[in-house]
């Protein structure tokens, strides 16, 4: 190795160092520590006591674990489907050539810039059963709206509906993908007599399938980590009737309110594995429908 190489290598490592240190301290260490604590009785205040797989065994018989896992899966499924459909539709609409396109794009992107806490408080008011904008609108249509967040049969769906609020981020990514689709393909399809939907399903979607795959995987991960909306809007108990008790909310209660950090660590690891398996499954499935043109 020449001296220039070794200098470059040293400089390269030095430039990477801040990131490596950050990764080690804030990601790798907590990950491994959590794995160890998940095998312990750990109250944070006292030194951890090793108890083997007891925490994991307790999880299986914990109804709240299953309830919160179900709620989260429901939310993730709902928000992934709804978020993808809405953001893809918006991107398709905004990919057309109409006047003032820049303004529309900005308007649809704006809500996703709002911090999630502020957004949650805003939705809290919109969902107000008596004077919320949604129920006021419904009243004008002659419909008595539900008490959204106070009604166990509506609360979870109400939080899923909020996912459209953050569709702007995915929309921008889809837009970029759409603009990458070669016009020659559309021209060829038109010459072959393809209509709008044929072009959509046979040209557009296959061409942006890698982008869809990317967004879906990110949404699954984000969906399983849902916390803030429920914490702000329905409180840490996941009211009403625990219909909004999401997995991470339950984990927070167990870890930070009950000080059962070992149990909470076990929950965190289970969630990690669930997300890992789902991402892996999505990747496996993607081989069937994702097309890379290179």
């Amino acid at each position: 190795m020449s001296s220039l190489d070794s200098v470059n290598r040293r400089n390269g490592l030095l430039f990477c160092l801040p990131w490596l240190i950050g990764l080690a301290i804030f990601l790798i260490y907590p990950l491994i520590a959590a794995l160890y604590y998940s095998l312990c009785d750990y109250s944070v205040l006292l030194p951890p006591v090793f108890i083997g797989l007891d925490n994991y065994a307790d999880l299986i018989s914990d109804p709240l674990f299953w309830k919160s896992l179900y709620n989260t899966a429901y939310y993730a499924a709902g928000s992934v489907v709804l978020g993808t459909v809405v953001s893809l539709t918006l991107a398709l609409l905004l990919n057309s050539k109409v006047k003032g396109l820049g303004i529309y794009r900005t308007l649809f992107f704006l809500p996703s810039l709002m911090p999630i806490v502020a957004g949650s408080i805003l939705w809290l008011w919109m969902y107000n059963g008596q004077s919320g904008i949604i129920n006021t609108g419904l009243r004008h249509l002659g419909i008595t709206g539900p008490a959204w967040l106070a009604d166990p049969s509506w609360a979870k769906s109400a939080i899923v509906l909020m996912a459209v609020w953050g569709a702007g981020n995915a929309m921008v990514v889809y837009l970029a993908g759409l603009q990458d689709v070669p016009t020659s393909l559309y021209e060829a399809a038109i010459i072959d007599g393809a209509g709008f939907f044929q072009r959509l399903f046979n040209v557009t979607i296959p061409m942006i399938s890698p982008v869809i795959y990317f967004n879906v995987v990110l949404s699954i991960i984000a969906g399983f980590q849902a916390f803030t909306q429920a914490f702000i809007m329905t409180g840490s108990t996941g009211a009403p009737e625990r219909s909004t008790l999401f997995y991470v909310l339950n984990l927070y209660n167990v870890g930070f309110q009950d000080l059962r950090m070992g149990y909470a660590s076990a929950m965190a690891w289970v969630l990690f594995i669930v997300i890992l398996v789902l991402t892996f499954a999505a990747t496996k499935l993607s081989k069937r429908w994702v097309t890379y043109d290179r």
């Binding site: 009785d41 944070v44 205040l45 006292l46 109804p63 059963g129 008596q130 004077s131 409180g235 209660n253």
Partner: protein, 478 residues
């Protein structure tokens, strides 16, 4: 949501006053510096209150610090203690993190209902030996409040500012309903009858006209009626929903090892709670409640006259002064079931406490401050400033004379009652409280009958308590 946290949300403390006080103290210390070469012993105190409650504590700390400076001036070998107050939101959580991280404050204020969980976690210093050494006289304090700081045969905390709750009534609405405003309900049956008379609806008649009607209207469909005033709602504000059973003679625990959520008296209490959902309608109540503003605002359900009677605490006086100064209100002991006159004067009685965290850097100095605060004169000053009563058995005439709350004697009488109850001292209270919160949801939504819900709570929480006991036993064995 935990009601006490809501209650704690107050406007920011008078920062200017603090700075001025600190500066004047610095000047005082500076003046005495010439004779006394001892460096002051600085201790940090974590406080949970802002607003007028925080200012009342500031005044006590300033007095203490000034006294220490004076003492150091007189005795050149004495190093004065200097207490610095730091206001911390959600102190009960941040304190734990600080203790776990090995960097706790010297001293902290907390709520009595966290004592057991903190003690189980080994987060607190046992104050017993220091109190004994200081010749602490238990008999001077109201027994109930002292016990809040005791758990597993040790004294982990001392009560400084107690509280109790009562039935608050809106006298104007009583008059409008043809009730005697000076005669609040004394029994649950009377409360039910009054509540019906105080319930008002706007009803859409078949001809499209609107009319105001009073009472429960089971015959009118939900779409044709709009609730405009409720006599009483068990869920407003719902801060003591876990405790309805106590008003009917129930209890949530029996000793440290037994959960008694499904006690027949608890079931009776929650049957009563459910009766309001049945009388008013679930959807109707929810829509009505969602129109209420924040607790600390003029749109508060009681302050704005939307609910005529509420279960509320001694502090409500301050909120009335601030947000509804013209409100004609009264306070009375919460009613008891007519068949159980022995349950008169039932109240929830919890307290603000002082604790010394485990590994406090200056426990002796921290205790010196506790000892100072526990003096009757100082306690009176603090409790008067916070507009509550004191945990002492004897109170000076002056205290009663200057106290702004017209019902302060009633609240104290309630606090001293043999029927005063508190959040059970169990290390699993957070978990139990969440489970009960969910139970109240199920009961008020009429999803399941109270007997079924409470039975399930009992089974689950007994298992949780047994688990907790096993963990503690394992820790003790180590």
């Amino acid at each position: 949501m935990n009601g006490r946290q809501t209650r704690g949300r107050r406007p920011p403390a008078g920062a200017v006053a603090r700075v001025t006080a600190t500066l004047s103290l610095a000047v005082l210390v500076g003046c005495s510096g010439a004779e006394n070469k001892q460096a002051p012993r600085h201790i940090t105190y974590w406080e949970k209150w802002t607003g007028f409650e925080g200012e009342a504590m500031d005044a006590v700390i300033d007095d203490f610090n000034a006294g220490e400076v004076a003492r150091a001036k007189a005795d050149s070998s004495y190093a004065p203690i200097e207490v610095e107050k730091v206001t911390i939101s959600n102190v009960e959580q941040k304190l734990l993190i600080a203790i776990a991280g090995g960097n706790p404050p010297d001293l902290a204020g907390n709520y009595s209902f966290y004592v057991a969980a903190y003690a189980d976690g080994g987060a607190l210093m046992d104050l017993g030996p220091m109190l004994a050494k200081a010749g602490f006289d238990r008999s001077a304090y109201i027994e109930h409040y002292l016990k809040l700081g005791e758990y597993r045969n040790k004294t982990w905390a001392v009560p400084i500012v107690p509280a109790s709750i009562a039935l608050l009534t809106n006298k104007r609405l009583f008059r409008e309903a043809g009730l005697d405003p000076e005669h609040p309900p004394t029994t649950i049956e009377e409360l039910d009858a009054f509540a019906a008379k105080l319930t008002k609806w706007e009803v859409t008649l078949p001809n499209g006209e609107k009319s105001i009607q009073v009472g429960y209207l089971p015959g009118v469909p939900d779409q044709k009626k709009r609730l405009i005033q409720a006599g009483f709602l068990p869920g407003e504000p719902g801060w003591w929903s876990y405790g309805w059973g106590y008003f009917f003679g129930g209890n949530l625990v029996d000793g440290p090892d037994k959960i008694t959520a499904a006690d027949p008296a608890n079931v009776a209490a929650f049957d009563w709670v459910a009766s309001f959902s049945k009388n008013l309608g679930i959807g109707v109540t929810k829509r009505f409640r969602s129109g209420f503003g924040n607790f600390a605002s003029p749109q508060n359900a009681f302050l704005s006259g939307k609910v005529a009677m509420v279960l509320q605490g001694v502090w409500m006086h301050n909120f009335i002064e601030k947000y509804a100064p013209g409100l004609e209100w009264g306070a009375a002991p919460f009613p008891y079931p007519a068949a159980h006159p022995e349950l008169a004067l039932t109240t929830s009685a919890d307290a603000d406490v002082l604790i010394i965290p485990k590994d406090s850097p200056h426990p002796e100095e921290a205790f010196a401050f506790i000892e100072y605060v526990l003096q009757p004169k100082v306690l009176e000053k603090l409790c008067l400033g916070q507009q509550k009563f004191t945990p002492l058995k004897t109170v000076s005439e002056e205290f009663w004379r200057v106290h702004p709350n017209p019902y302060i004697r009633l609240f104290r009488e309630l606090g001293m009652s043999k029927n005063a109850f508190s959040i059970p001292q169990t290390g699993i209270w957070n978990e139990y409280n969440r489970e009960l919160g969910n139970a109240v949801d199920l009961i008020q939504n009429l999803t399941q009958p109270p007997a079924v819900v409470l039975k399930e709570v009992q089974t689950k929480m007994q298992a949780a308590l047994d688990r907790n006991r096993r963990i503690l036993a394992r820790r003790d064995a180590k």
